[in-house]
């Protein structure tokens, strides 16, 4: 009985991690920029849901749709003003630029909304599904379903649409793509915007389940990098599977070996994966330096 509960909790947590990681892996896969402001963008999504709920009485599932244009605009601004200027400029420039964006966002949130932690206080935030003595949180179940849904849609987009094929072409070889008259700048911009929308959406959907405060991005940000590297940089399926693997490891090791050890355990596995299979579970070897054979 407790084992079933543990596995369920692990899968729910894994869904959360997967949902957060999709945007990160998408941006890396195409732009080859590791977005270190990812956690802070998640935080903005959570605050969007919080304010929409507190001031406007909107449930997060309405905000999830209504706020997408805002996230898109925000993603576009960050791309135009910062990320675009760092493309092809070496890792250090990109790391410092995105870390800088993260620091600015976190401190802006502190100035605007203080360091107080907040939660969305509504019936649906505490809603649980009871099946034969086992409880599952409804908002987490929704996040879980959306994680699978979004990665499925992205997979379809990348493989079945012309625009998606252009994205993959740019990811594989930007020079050749340019030679084929693909507007790489536009593809980069759209991919970045899409990635930011994904993480914003994740923030909105997680807002009912976790405390919201300016530094929340740090807690989730770190684990999402682990998930993405484990699954393979740039791989949708990898982010999904990586999320579930880390979620399950965290819950099971936390229960059987002690909560203090749970992070140590998944970082240990992370190190082992890097040693044995540096490209991650679904990634292609050398993905971090050259084009991908395949994304999605």
């Amino acid at each position: 009985m407790i084992f079933v509960e543990l596995v369920l909790a692990g899968l729910m947590l894994g869904g959360v991690y997967a949902l957060i990681s999709i945007g990160l892996t998408l941006i890396f896969g195409v732009l080859r920029v590791v977005n270190f402001a990812h956690g802070e963008m998640l935080m903005l999504g959570m605050f969007a849901a919080y304010w929409a709920s507190t001031l406007g009485g909107l449930p997060p599932y309405v905000t999830a749709v209504a706020a997408l244009p805002l996230f898109a605009l925000f993603g576009w601004l960050v791309y135009r003003l910062i990320v675009r200027r760092t493309l092809g400029m070496g890792d250090v420039v990109q790391i410092f630029a995105t870390v800088g964006v993260g620091v600015v966002l976190q401190n802006a949130a502190l100035v605007l909304w203080t360091g107080d932690f907040r939660t969305i206080r509504s019936g649906y935030a505490d809603a649980v599904l009871r099946v034969g003595g086992i409880q599952v949180s409804v908002p987490l179940l929704v996040a879980f379903a959306v994680a699978i849904g979004v990665s499925g849609l992205l997979f379809l987009f990348l493989n079945r649409t012309l625009e998606g094929r252009a994205v993959r072409a740019v990811a594989q070889d930007p020079i050749s793509a340019l030679a084929l008259a693909i507007d790489t700048d536009r593809v980069y911009m759209r991919t970045f915007v899409l990635g930011v929308c994904c993480v914003g959406l994740a923030g909105v959907l997680l807002a009912p389940s976790y405390p919201i405060f300016p530094a929340i991005g740090l807690s989730f940000g770190l684990v999402s990098y682990v998930v993405v590297v484990l699954g393979g940089l740039g791989s949708m399926a990898g982010a999904l599977l990586g999320g579930f693997v880390i979620g399950l490891i965290e819950v099971l090791s936390g229960y059987f070996l002690g909560t203090a050890l749970k992070q140590a355990i998944y970082f240990l596995i992370f190190v082992l994966v890097l040693l044995v299979r540096p490209q991650g579970l679904f990634g292609q070897r050398g993905a971090e330096t050259m084009g991908f054979g395949k994304i999605a």
């Binding site: 909790a9 502190l110 206080r121 929340i216 229960y255």
Partner: protein
Amino acid sequence: MVKRVVVGLVVGVAVVVVASVGVVVAQDVRIGTIFPVTGNMAFGGNEGFMGTEIAREIVNERGGIWGGKKIVFVQADAPDQTAATNEMNRLISRENVKLVVGSFSSAIAFTASQVAERNKVIFWENHGVADTIARRGFRYLFKTNVNATGTGGGSAVFAAGYLAKALNIAPKDLKVAVAWEDGTYGASVGKAAFEKAKELGLNVVANEGYSAKSADLSPLILKLKGLNPDVLLVAGIGQDAVLFWSQARKLDFNAKAVVATSGGWGVPDFAKNLGDGANGVFSSDFPTEVNPEALTPHARELAREFVKRFQAKKGTRPTGNAWLAFAGSMVLFEEVLPKAGSLDPEKIRDAAFSLDLPNGSMANGCGVKFIPHDQFDGGKNERAFAIVGQWQDGVMKVVGPDKLAAAKPILVPLPKWSDRK
């Protein structure tokens, strides 16, 4: 010619203004403050600073110290221990500060006081509860508040005494689980709770550490749920407390009573975020608004003034942390500095050790008597104590000890989550 005269006048006036400002600055009493005002401890760091700032305002408005000199703060922000070291170095070597007040967090206090000690600068700590802070034989450290042994141990004492009786379970049969965040604060308080529970012969079924930075605590909650303790003793520092208790609700973990040790469980954000779910949770906590009868007339007046000003600034009643900051800083500004007559660290030490103020002298009800630096717990205020509070209708009410109590305990045992709707 006229132009020249005008320019000359402007320059002259400017020189006089700059010089006079310079003179004013030179006469001010410059004191360093170090708090985590950004980062994930900012919620508490800002409250700590606000309490300290209100103390400064009151003292300055009432004529300052040393014949009209005003206290000014040189502020430092330390969101983590590395920043604490860097900022302390800056305060001491660049700003030439001789006295620093802090710091909300045990971890920051631990690190910052180390730099102060090395430079023979007084570190005046009003918050950090970790026992280890005052157990390093430091000569320039003063700690006005209660230790982890007081808050953590106090939670176990309350479980073995009041709760065992109220739940009608013999102490040796009372199943107790101890959970603590594994930072300097929680580890210290958790250890004190665990050791006291063992010493009192309680049936301790779990002693679990967790990271306060965890995004999710479901493994811990499920483990506790499997062990089914009667009483949970818990030390959380910030948002982890809200996460802990909201996940306990979602995963249906029920204990008959919960005794927290202040930290994240004792701040208004806890009740604000959890609503009715917070009601009934006990906290072995820092004294806040104690029964005014227990205060001296001066402390009573200060307490009233503090609440008024804090509410005007923040819109809420002050937390235990803000009370610590205010009460501890008032002792420094009103009692120690006037006696010391200068910022000379040796004179401040002598002045601090000369204090012998009975309970009720501080605005939060404590007294002041510092343990000599060459003794165990040297520099700690031996008259600081913890109280037991309980969340009742969103307000932390003091329920013990009896002479300070403002309310009676309720909701023992706690109703199950499924019965709470």
